[in-house]
């Protein structure tokens, strides 16, 4: 019992991280109908920027994190403004293929710039942990969880309580009506992609603090973002949290009861099940998930 409770707690902590990561993917998909297969590579870029800032510039982690976010924010803006906006009217698989190509290019650039070595930061938090109700919580996991939750709440506030949030939502519902009411749609699209990018950057910084990473490690993050978004439902922040935690718990339970090789496959099996039984996800709203041919 104690063991299962500990595993569920680990799953919840991991799930908070997954939720935050998936939101950057979800907002781009929900608003622009772009499935960004280069998302994992953007996370890796965030991780590399963090590592450079900490090791080369000697910055503290708290300063490196915004720097990583800024780098991927700008990257996201430029990508959407210069390239992806041109594909806005095309069919869904055009953008899918486009971002796959982008992902290949980014992986290759990361390989050239940072080599194929697997890297990690020196253990920032050490192995220290505290206990709640007899369950141990490592400081590193708790910090990641806290930052991820703060990002999630921040995004919620941005979307619901600011003019930019209103513009993004209006554009997502009906780009033509938004244009007629004076919203600069290409700019809003670019900003949305940039926000998704910033979240990828923060996720990357978090990855750098406690996981090892390499140019090709990004793909598994893209896949997990996929699973979380589909589980929770497109465009839903509570859905992302529920989906993230569900995935975190299921993955941890799977590594306990099954061979650890099935860890990723269990997530996908869950995804297939949800797609068949509840195609809009557990918390999905019709609005965001409207699929264009």
């Amino acid at each position: 019992m104690q063991l299962v409770a500990q595993i569920v707690l680990n799953g919840v902590l991991l799930g908070g991280f997954y939720a935050c990561m998936a939101l950057g993917f979800s907002i781009v998909w929900g608003v622009m109908n772009v499935v960004n297969l280069a998302y994992g590579s953007m996370i890796m870029i965030g991780a590399y920027v963090t590592q450079l800032a900490v090791l080369q510039l000697g910055l503290p982690l708290a300063a490196a994190l915004p720097l990583a976010a800024l780098a991927t924010f700008m990257m996201g803006y430029v990508l959407q403004r210069a390239l992806l906006n041109r594909l806005a009217e095309r069919s869904v698989f055009m953008t899918l293929i486009f971002t796959f190509g982008l992902n290949m290019a980014l992986i290759n650039l990361n390989l050239i710039l940072f080599s194929a070595d697997v890297r990690s930061l020196p253990d920032v938090f050490g192995r220290a942990s505290f206990t709640i109700a007899g369950l141990s919580v490592p400081y590193s996991r708790a910090t990641i969880f806290a930052v991820a939750m703060a990002m999630t709440l921040g995004l919620h506030a941005l979307l619901n309580w600011t003019p930019l949030g209103n513009a993004i939502k209006a554009t997502s519902f009906d780009p033509d009506a938004a244009r007629l009411s004076g919203i600069d749609v290409p700019h809003v699209y670019a900003l949305t992609f940039a926000i998704g990018g910033a979240i990828a950057g923060v996720t990357g910084a978090l990855v750098a603090t406690s996981y090892s990473f390499s140019p090709i490690a990004g793909e598994s993050y893209t896949m997990k973002a996929f699973v979380v978004v589909v589980l929770g439902g497109l465009g839903s922040i509570p859905g992302a949290i529920i989906g993230g935690m569900l995935l975190g718990i299921v993955e941890n339970l799977a590594s306990l009861f099954l061979d650890s090789g099935y860890r990723d496959a269990v997530g996908f099996a869950l995804l297939l099940l949800v797609l068949v039984l509840r195609p809009r996800g557990l918390m999905g709203r019709r609005f965001f998930a409207e699929v264009k041919g």
Binding site: L111, G261, Y262, A265, V276, P279
Partner: protein, 331 residues
């Protein structure tokens, strides 16, 4: 002019397009039959892989181009075909029956999950097929007793020299390529194919006019799966060693996708044109820019999507009238 004689003889009747495609196909196959005697082993291998990719791209085209369902994870059938065939060969079956051991499970899987997954559309269908590939791939990697697990599976060598084996692989893929052309013509011109295209342009309207949409989609996916699985089986025999990360590699699917897009979606010969262009570009990148080959391929993909959204054939069709007008004015 040959083309005008053809047109005069067959007119623009209902089967004109079919006959023209069949004629082009016969010429192509004749060329493919003669070519090996002029090619070195290196070029023969390259041509074999072009044919293989053209077949996989046609499998993708069958679903994504003709029916409008982006079966992104179609590589799952390639992997199943490779493993089924390899295991059958290891168990002592001859090549022909061994291919069936790959093709039947793949077609069966498409028929079994088709009715469930083909209710999803767009990104959701694409992701579901991707998930299917991940699950099957994980099974292949973890059921070590059956598949050899992540360490892979080696096949016993076939008879004769390496050159003989390359020849056999070439003949196999050329025959399969002919079958893929027939599938393309079937999907373009048959009653069944009209059903597919009706689904592509408007599924609700197709359903309302009496197309049994779910059945048509499932059968189309099964045909796509069979083609892809046989390609996987031939590939396993050709390279002699398979592992999950090799034959369930999403990059194969994506390449196939880009190829048929580049060649022209929903056309008979598009996949071949795309495979020729992309595979040549990839081979050039591999041999001259080894460190940059992913970048080159990635940028090529992005450029294709940005500049040639309706494929090379569409590009020519769009610009040819203007070019012809200019040529006429000059002369």
């Amino acid at each position: 002019m040959a083309a005008s004689t053809l047109r005069a003889r067959w007119g623009n009747g209902p089967w004109a397009g079919t006959l023209r495609s069949a004629a082009i196909g016969c010429v192509l196959m004749a060329i493919l039959m003669v070519l090996p005697s002029f090619l070195s082993l290196y070029w023969l291998r390259l041509l074999t892989s072009v044919l293989m990719l053209a077949v996989i791209a046609q499998g993708m085209n069958a679903m994504a181009g003709f029916v409008g369902y982006p079966a992104f994870g179609n590589v799952v059938f390639f992997g199943i075909g490779a493993y089924g065939t390899a295991l059958a060969i290891a168990a002592g079956f001859a090549m022909g029956p061994a291919l069936l051991f790959g093709a039947i499970p793949a077609g069966g899987l498409a028929l079994a999950v088709g009715p469930l997954l083909l209710r999803l559309r767009g990104h959701y269908f694409a992701i579901a097929t991707l998930g299917l590939n991940e699950v099957v791939s994980a099974l292949a990697a973890n059921l070590s007793g059956l598949t050899g697990g992540a360490a892979g599976l080696s096949l016993p060598l076939g008879a004769g020299t390496a050159g003989d084996a390359a020849q056999r692989a070439y003949v196999g893929f050329a025959a399969l390529f002919a079958a893929s052309l027939l599938l393309g013509i079937f999907l373009r011109d048959s009653r069944f194919g009209y059903g597919c295209r009706a689904i592509r342009s408007n599924e609700e309207a197709a359903e309302a006019t009496g197309v049994p949409t779910l059945r048509v989609k499932s059968i189309a996916w099964m045909l796509s799966a069979l083609l892809t699985a046989v390609a996987g089986g031939l590939y396993a025999r050709w390279v002699g060693f398979i592992e999950p990360s090799l034959v369930f590699d999403m990059a194969i699917s994506v390449k196939a996708f880009v190829m048929f897009l580049l060649g022209g979606a929903g056309t008979v010969f598009g996949p071949l044109i795309g495979a020729l262009l992309i595979e040549s570009a990839t081979t050039l990148a591999w041999s001259h820019l080894l460190k940059l080959h992913l970048l080159v391929l990635g940028v090529t993909i992005m450029l294709v999507v940005l500049l040639l959204p309706d494929g090379a054939q569409g590009f020519v069709a769009r610009h040819w009238p203007a070019v012809r007008a200019r040529l006429r004015r000059r002369s």
